[in-house]
């Protein structure tokens, strides 16, 4: 499962860090770092984090199948 944060939208409210501290973290007072891939154990927390984002900047994709034709099957 994957996620990406639109860091143009992100203003460092850090609600995601409170709710899913293993996936999101603050670097300094405001800069957000995130793990772009997460597993089933974090799913519930990531859902809560994405819903809580005050600027709705977190895009989550719970689908986990690799794309046909992409690495490791080098085209």
């Amino acid at each position: 499962m994957r996620l990406v944060v639109d860091l143009n939208r992100c203003q460092g409210f850090a609600q995601c860090v409170f709710l899913a501290p293993d996936v999101f973290s603050l670097h300094g007072d405001e800069a957000l770092l995130f793990s772009p891939r997460f597993d089933e154990a974090q799913r519930d927390r990531v859902e809560k984090a994405a819903a809580a984002c005050p600027v709705q900047a977190i895009l989550v994709d719970y689908f986990d199948e690799p794309t046909k034709g992409a690495e490791p099957h080098v085209g």
Binding site: F13, A14, Q15, V17, F18, L19, P21, S25, L26, H27, G28, D29, E47, K48, A51, A52, P54, V55, Q56
Partner: protein, 401 residues
């Protein structure tokens, strides 16, 4: 309808149960001048824009004489204003200091670590429903959980709760623009008494550090700043989350179709909680900001010095931002609501409130089979800002383990 009567109606207790038609009326003029020179801003984009505007101050000493200076303690109380009534750089310094033991970057797991204990509190509260055919959701569920939570966060002994309950009520009421001189006087007294109680507690923590953020903050803050902060967090922790939990329960019982969906899909709880924060926000409006300069917004100029009220609950129902805004729809996408405000004064306790809601709401509806609301609308508290039911009596059919 004249503009003067509209705000009177909004603050009028008779309209507490359903202020939303009044908010809809208010939105017809996005930025509305009141007879006393205050400005009411009620549409989404305008509220959002002003909440992020550096020309708007939360320090009410910027208001000309004659206007209510919400949040400013009287000189003799000896306490500074709490951080929500300050501007940067003072605001940022205070909030960052207080955040250090509370949240990221320094303490990202502090609140997460309370989930287990809070879940136990929820279990105990619901176990006590056993054998009852009716309960008051406020007294029996929504109130005890946040109180326990804020006591744990601060490190305040839970058994002292009855003492500060009274103070917290008085202080919360004083945020209401209708509180009047008597209300303000009571609040000042409560602030002083609560301050004295907390000063003792903080002194004890300084000598014998224990769990909770007061102990962690004692070395880094002046006693007066820490006291002011503790008073704010204790009051906010009391009132707002109680309203959020109660509003969620009330809203779900009024929408049996959504309740059915929640039973079939417990994962719905997460977006549903956000939708309640849009639909019935626990803080309805922020009446304590002031223009530092002339501000042009929505074809109106708010003059320098004018008190500005940001009507969050009205903005959350703005049809220009939310499709079909009066519909309670937990499936709503892109729910960028203002239930916790926005900008630098975004609710400090929001993550704690969310953790409590995430723990409480699914479990309440998993275990309890409700038959109906016993009073609809329920009786509300007087407060128009921190709006919520005083009691929520419900009939229950069954309780599962």
């Amino acid at each position: 309808m004249t503009s003067g009567t509209l705000i009177t109606q909004i603050t009028d207790y008779a309209n507490r149960a359903d202020p939303y038609p009044l908010y809809a009326e208010l939105r017809k003029i996005p930025v509305r001048r009141e007879d006393d020179g205050s400005y009411l801003v009620s549409t989404y984009y305008e509220v959002r824009s002003l909440a992020n505007d550096p020309r708007l101050s939360n320090d009410t000493t910027n208001r000309p004489p004659g206007y209510a200076r919400v949040g400013q303690p009287e000189a003799e109380s000896g306490l500074p204003p709490s951080f929500i009534f300050t501007d940067p750089p003072v605001h940022d310094r205070l909030r960052e200091t207080i955040n250090r033991p509370f949240g990221p970057p320094h303490s990202p797991r502090f609140l997460d670590g309370l989930r287990g204990e809070l879940a136990t509190v929820v279990t105990d509260l619901l176990d006590a429903f056993e054998g009852k055919d009716q309960v008051d959701i406020v007294e029996d569920f929504a109130y005890p959980l946040p109180v326990t939570a804020i006591c744990k966060v601060l490190g305040v002994p839970r058994e002292d709760e009855p003492r500060f309950h009274v103070w917290a009520d008085a202080l919360a009421s004083s945020l209401d623009p209708q509180a009047g001189d008597d209300g303000q006087a009571k609040a000042q007294q409560a602030r002083q008494d609560m301050g004295a109680y907390l000063a003792d507690l903080i002194e004890t923590k300084r000598r014998h550090p224990g769990p909770g953020i007061l102990s962690a903050l004692a070395p880094d803050m002046t006693p007066a700043d820490l006291e002011a902060t503790a008073v704010l967090l204790l009051v906010a922790g009391h009132e707002t989350t109680v309203n959020a939990i109660t509003n969620t329960t009330l809203t779900l019982l009024r929408h049996p179709d959504v309740l059915d969906r929640l039973h079939k899909d417990p994962g719905l709880a997460v977006p549903l909680i956000e939708e309640v924060l849009r639909y019935e926000p626990p803080v309805q409006f922020v009446p304590w900001t002031t223009a530092l300069a002339d501000i042009d917004v929505a074809d109106t100029t708010i003059p320098k010095g004018a008190p500005v009220w940001l009507m969050l609950a009205a903005a959350n129902r703005d049809p220009k931002r939310f499709k079909d805004p009066d519909r309670f729809d937990p499936g709503r996408k892109d729910n960028e609501h203002l239930g916790f405000y926005t900008g630098i004064h975004y609710c400090f306790g929001a993550p704690l409130a969310r953790i409590e809601l995430h723990v409480a709401v699914p479990e309440l509806f998993r275990r309890v089979t409700f038959s109906r609301l016993l009073e609809d609308p329920p009786p509300y508290r007087a407060n128009a800002v921190l709006r919520g039911p005083r009691h929520l009596p419900v009939a229950i059919e069954a309780l599962t383990a």
